[in-house]
Symmetry: C2
Subunit: 800 residues, 2 copies
Amino acid sequence: MENFVYIIPVLGIIGLLTMYLKAKWVSKQDAGDATMSELAGYIANGAMAFLRAEWKILGYFVIIASILLAWSGSVVETSSPIIAISFIIGAVFSATAGYIGMNIATKANVRTTQAARTSLPQALKVSFTGGSVMGLGVAGLAVLGIGSLFIFFYTMYVVNTGADVNGKMMEKALEVLAGFSLGAESIALFARVGGGIYTKAADVGADLVGKVEAGIPEDDVRNPATIADNVGDNVGDVAGMGADLFGSYVATILATMVLGREIVSQDNFGGIAPILLPMVIAGVGLLFSIVGMLFVKVKGEDGDVQKALNMGNWSSIVFTAIASFFIVNWMLPDTAMNIRGFEFTKMNVFCAIILGLVVGTLMSAITEYYTAMGKRPVQSIVNQSSTGHATNIIGGLSVGMESTAAPMLVLAAGIYGSYYFAGLYGVAIAAAGMMATTAMQLAIDAFGPIADNAGGIAEMSGLPKEVRNRTDNLDAVGNTTAATGKGFAIASAALTSLALFAAFVGVAGISHIDIYKADVLAGLFVGGMIPFIFSSLAIAAVGRAAMDMVNEVRRQFREIPGIMEYKAKPEYEKCVAISTEASIREMVAPGAIALIVPIIVGFTFGPEVLGGLLAGVTVSGVLLGMFMNNAGGAWDNAKKSFEKGAVINGETFYKGSEPHKASVTGDTVGDPFKDTSGPSMNILIKLMSIVSLIIAPHIAVNEGHGAQMMNGGDKIECMMDCCKTMNGDAEHNMNYCKNFTAATGVKCEMDENGQCMIDSTDCARLISEGKMDAKSCEMVNGKCKMSTEACQKMMENKAE
Amino acid sequence: MENFVYIIPVLGIIGLLTMYLKAKWVSKQDAGDATMSELAGYIANGAMAFLRAEWKILGYFVIIASILLAWSGSVVETSSPIIAISFIIGAVFSATAGYIGMNIATKANVRTTQAARTSLPQALKVSFTGGSVMGLGVAGLAVLGIGSLFIFFYTMYVVNTGADVNGKMMEKALEVLAGFSLGAESIALFARVGGGIYTKAADVGADLVGKVEAGIPEDDVRNPATIADNVGDNVGDVAGMGADLFGSYVATILATMVLGREIVSQDNFGGIAPILLPMVIAGVGLLFSIVGMLFVKVKGEDGDVQKALNMGNWSSIVFTAIASFFIVNWMLPDTAMNIRGFEFTKMNVFCAIILGLVVGTLMSAITEYYTAMGKRPVQSIVNQSSTGHATNIIGGLSVGMESTAAPMLVLAAGIYGSYYFAGLYGVAIAAAGMMATTAMQLAIDAFGPIADNAGGIAEMSGLPKEVRNRTDNLDAVGNTTAATGKGFAIASAALTSLALFAAFVGVAGISHIDIYKADVLAGLFVGGMIPFIFSSLAIAAVGRAAMDMVNEVRRQFREIPGIMEYKAKPEYEKCVAISTEASIREMVAPGAIALIVPIIVGFTFGPEVLGGLLAGVTVSGVLLGMFMNNAGGAWDNAKKSFEKGAVINGETFYKGSEPHKASVTGDTVGDPFKDTSGPSMNILIKLMSIVSLIIAPHIAVNEGHGAQMMNGGDKIECMMDCCKTMNGDAEHNMNYCKNFTAATGVKCEMDENGQCMIDSTDCARLISEGKMDAKSCEMVNGKCKMSTEACQKMMENKAE
């Protein structure tokens, strides 16, 4: 069964091949007339210009970061300079995922417009296939990347050295693999923040002057910022989101693998089934996402697009859930497993996966409730628009805050429940289960901006109204899926962070994070603040960039005569340049906070305070993220409610009415909330956790592997807590060691820290022989920590 | 020195007498002409109508809550049904504090208007004396109440029974005293939330129709909601704030006392100096507040009002700081003290007090920076007003989020530092030091709304422009002091909550709150959500009530002919009734959350999860509170910037310009932020901590006093950790006990749980004789927990 592991990259390659076929199909579609091609060309060029500018900056970052990583990898024994290569591959894969998405999106947009000239089913087919290319690209690259790197490092560090699969060398392999996740998540952060600033600066700027001041419709070809606005949809909503979900997906799998290493498993996969499981489920989820995509189609002009997407989504989720039952049953051992003293069976693991799927589904449903047109929350904002801008804003803020309540309860229950099933491994695998159908989820998400762009092109090219109606139909569904996708994403980010948090605690060698300690509590406070300052920077950046955009658009209207009469062409590229420069400049500060704060806190105050900080970041980040995403989504749909006529106290109001104007204000405020700072929260909390995990070996305390590495060998890995109380009293411990060996026949040696240790293989043997209770030996980083009680009892038993 | 304790209520009485003289002086001032008296009469009647309605509802609440408390007090041995009486007294005192403030404010307002007809110094004198009455009333009642109740319960439970001052009976006395704080804080919550909803519903409603739709100025007598608006200033900003600070003040003192009980102190006050200290400092702070008030005066028309207030504030702070040096030096023992294993000296305590003052001052200064006119944050909002409503809102939200960063770092440093000085007692006494000059702080705070009201009366009575200018001058300063006061209040609330949190941990018998445990982490998540749902409810309530108000004002303008031509009088009382009913109705849900959630979580999941919940509430509440207070304050002053002409990109804009209109939107959004939900966060976090402290004995785990009460006596209170590992092995423990007695000569008995205990007096004696290291004996609830190492060493030493 050893070769079974190769199935994982193969599944990734299947995903990428399917993607290639779908991409080819999209390219073959008719790209419309000359005007349409010209406009699409502007958008594609603008998007590429942004990517090039972004990659240049990120190139420097990756080089510097990888040098630092290589150096740091050479300092501790559980890491290696190779982590830098892993990091670079992660960064390149993440950038590639974004590129694939943007490339296909800028092709699919105009082809969707052209398809919409014929029929709705055809328009859906083109746009959704575009989205699918993105989904399959991201998931395929992730599975391929993490699968093949794992095989490589596993072979190099564990198989070739004959080391213990639960031991230090496997820890090293996974630590090096974590570099891949760090690379992916770093690029994701910059892509999300940079793209988010880009898209909203352009959007807000275009709206404020175009719609409000000049009174021309959205996506009017006369608006100089309109191309930048459409480019923004691609760089923010497509490339940014692609990199984001790529990062989430990888981080979730990695966190589960790191925790899986701690589980001693008597399986047919050389004892690494708990490590392989999350990758296999991801690969299978990818496969069933491809199957699910077949279900996404509508019959005629009045087909229900939302229902079609739901069919696809549900079928891939249900198939994956059923498949995981068989996979878990086949891969995991029949005997009970144990993680840090928590015992569980393979069926417990399956239950945790199902719980993860349920949590994800509930989170999506709640998000939909709070952001959907016609439901109570959005309607309350509509009602409050009747008394002006201010009450509309108050209404949206209140809805956003309220919307955190139910998801937090669901999330808390999810944490509680998945832990109840399978301890920390349960929490991690629940997140992995939730993320398994990322390909499908992303296809649905990416379809939205493609449809949005298609509508823009239809408007700018002056196509007939029925074309715009078809694209609007798709776009409206896209707004809902964007909101539910965000609910899903933040739930998975929260669970992933907790899994990473647990992995961090293990590697850092601490056994608890006690907020009753003043310094840890101070860490919690500071951590809670980080998402606020991060959001502030992101929102302020949008505000500043939007003002630059407004001034430029006003200047063009003023200085270029004939724009309004379609006689002169606006200078689109100047607006594109403003957005590009602003987003590149402004993404640095928030990105730096996420990367640097954990390093400073960890090295200055140690791992427990850093743990407090991470908890603060996670709680506050999840709350703020949900608040901002949902408030933004609700404002957006409150505004959209007026397009078909919104009823307030029996009176119907339309576009252009005073309440509608108030709702436009809310929508504009919501833009940076829901597309810049809100979705960045996911990445912020994960990235800070990953950085902490990477530095954990450097800041580990006594009992962590950092100190124990000093023993040099791979053998002495079982530390007994019983002599720890006499820590430092070398003579006493030496005697204790001798007595223990005499009484039990198990070799006991002293390490340099004056602690007595027994071999991890002895440890495992004693447990399997029933001479040592698994519960009394808590496995931490492959070392067995026994309680005083347990080891004294063992000595007594032997002595008898 | 035993009688020294009577000095505390005496200081309270001195404060109340001074208050009486000042109140009499205000009443004697000229109340102006008939129009002014009539308007002032409307306001005073409206305010009293609100108080009556509120008290009626709160009356029912107090009766029900006190019955429940009496019952619960009879269940555990460290409490008593008398806690209900304590609770009722706290509630009545809190309501009285609010009443005193409102009564004087509704007198001082019109008298300030009248005084402003003559000169600025006179107007300041009247308004500030009005504020001083409020400040002295609140602080005087607090010091009198807590001082005399303490004497009563101390005499009853400790002196009369001859019990140990660090023991269980003192714990009981303080637990019963906590009822006073619970009563005060409960009323504060309802007063703050109810008053906040009242004032902002009226304010927003009056502005939206009056200023925006009808185009009449603020405080115009033709606006039907104008009286309600002015009533709101009194019920929200005066009565609400009075009850709020009364609650904070009491809670801070109480938390320090509860922690002080754990300290074994060889002092001249019968060992209770650490318990008396916070009350004495509060009393002295009250005294020096009276002194500081003498410094608040300006010379002529162009006198600097802000400087006068600063003089008063600073002098009272500096005098109190100097006095505390001597008090600490005199009261606390020269020998080292110890709280839960943390050793400190009396000079450490003084340092913690100074640190508290520094933290409070820094918090005020940072808040002022973020909300003051002309500084970068407010100017950035002004600039963003030039591009419309939406960018103004985005700017304010971004400033609000940014403004959490520096205060959180200061607060974290404060926690870290005050703990470093004197452990948990340091954290608590730092908060107590910060709150010591509450009388002065509140005088400055309450002066603002009085000046605001005076301006309203001037406007409504059509007095000459110079009168309005004088009141506007006072009002502008009042806005700044309101903002800095809030910074101070939230800092003290955060430290108080931590002190209460620490007190809770002790009483509940847990020794840590480990967020690495899944259930505790889930508690942290849910806790973090509470301030969001609470704020959502409060903000939504304002939105709903404001809409009712808008509709009523529109109706009156429509249905009562001649209002606009001053020919008909609007029906002011209908608007007053709307605000009153809405606030009473809407304050119930948020209040219930604060009271009920800790009870449910505590009894369902136990104290550690409740601890996680409290930490989540505190972190998230402090952050949201600062975010909302500062965003609201900054929006308010951004709007005010336009009154004197705001410069944007070289161009000057005035009232009525487009940027000004955008800034009005921001101000309106900020109103419920800064006057309803923001300030409620202080009370929310404190109240939930107090409720937890009250239920702690009921949910205490093994090692808490709950279990140990079963011993029945007051003697056996020293639990040794060394036999805990063998818990349950009764024979082993019995032998251990015998051996311990034999080796050390100290009597050791077994309790019903099979744990060996030594007498607390033996414990104290051993420590004082230097035979037991105080560090190895961690005092938890007056029980000594010794490490295995320490007690084995003790046996070895004795055996030698």
